[in-house]
């Protein structure tokens, strides 16, 4: 058997529902396998750890060919909200937690949560904007140090 993965550092760079969940599932899955995990939220990924925004993450209904949904329809007012609500409902049926609860769960499992300093500066945010589970606001260099000895997964 090849060497097992012992540590992963996962980057969450997108702010849509389908852009955030994969990183969270990878992190939770890693922790459940006993793999050390850190998550680095950057750009719109910061919304997932932002107190005012983490409950309002939406599904992208325009420019999202994987959704197989007509662009003209997807751009109608309220369409994103409706589709997001539908996805949330389907996920609840599978016991997939909503994003705020999911993030709390991965923090409880021992994963380290970090915000990207460049993005924080870009959006004019500070530590108070984030949920308490966020350990620190770090630079990309600090992220690389943190990720040393493990695999990096970009989402």
């Amino acid at each position: 058997m090849p060497d097992a993965i012992e540590k992963v550092s996962i980057i969450v760079s997108k702010g849509s529902l389908e852009g955030i969940y994969p990183g969270l599932i990878m992190t939770n899955g890693a922790r459940a396998e006993g793999i050390e995990a850190n998550v680095f939220f950057t750009f719109f990924g910061l919304d997932a750890i932002h107190k005012g925004r983490h409950e309002h993450i939406k599904l992208a209904t325009v420019g999202n060919p994987g959704l197989h949904f007509a662009t003209m329809l997807g751009g109608l007012p309220g369409m994103s909200a409706v589709m997001t609500h539908y996805m949330d409902h389907k996920m609840a049926q599978l016991d997939i937690p909503p994003i705020p609860e999911f993030i709390e769960m991965i923090a409880d499992s021992g994963a380290g949560l970090y915000a990207c300093k460049a993005s924080v500066d870009l959006f004019g945010l500070d530590k108070d904007d984030f949920i308490p589970q966020v350990k620190d606001i770090i630079t990309v260099g600090e992220f690389y140090n943190l990720a040393a000895g493990g695999q990096i997964i970009f989402t």
Binding site: N28, G34, D95, D108
Partner: protein, 105 residues
């Protein structure tokens, strides 16, 4: 597939060390399996989780994943990871002699 002697009995294990036949398990084996996984002593809280895993397997034919385990057993996620550092659902299933839970959450 390998066979191992636990608590004086022969048991069949898969490549990852999980029981291929959960009926071969007995409570006496738990401590030995736990020690092999780096857990020196099983406390009452450990046992609460192990018994719960066993119960779920008996009732539903499959062991729960970490989230389901936390919700239904009454032991919160933080504590589960303290009791079983290298993956609570995986470890508790191994110690309880049930197959590894399969799931992505």
């Amino acid at each position: 597939m390998t066979t191992k002697t636990l608590a004086g009995a022969q048991v069949a294990l898969d490549d990852e060390g999980f029981f291929t036949d959960p009926d071969q398990w007995s409570e006496a084996m738990a401590s030995e399996i736990a020690r092999g996984e780096g857990i020196a002593g099983l406390t009452e809280r450990h046992w609460q989780v192990i018994k719960f895993m066993r119960h779920e397997y008996d009732e539903k034919g499959a062991a729960p994943n970490v989230r389901a385990l936390a919700k239904a057993s009454g032991v919160p996620i933080k504590e589960l990871y303290h009791l079983f550092p290298k993956g609570p659902a995986k470890l508790a299933a191994k110690i309880a002699g049930v197959p590894k839970p399969r799931g992505c959450i």
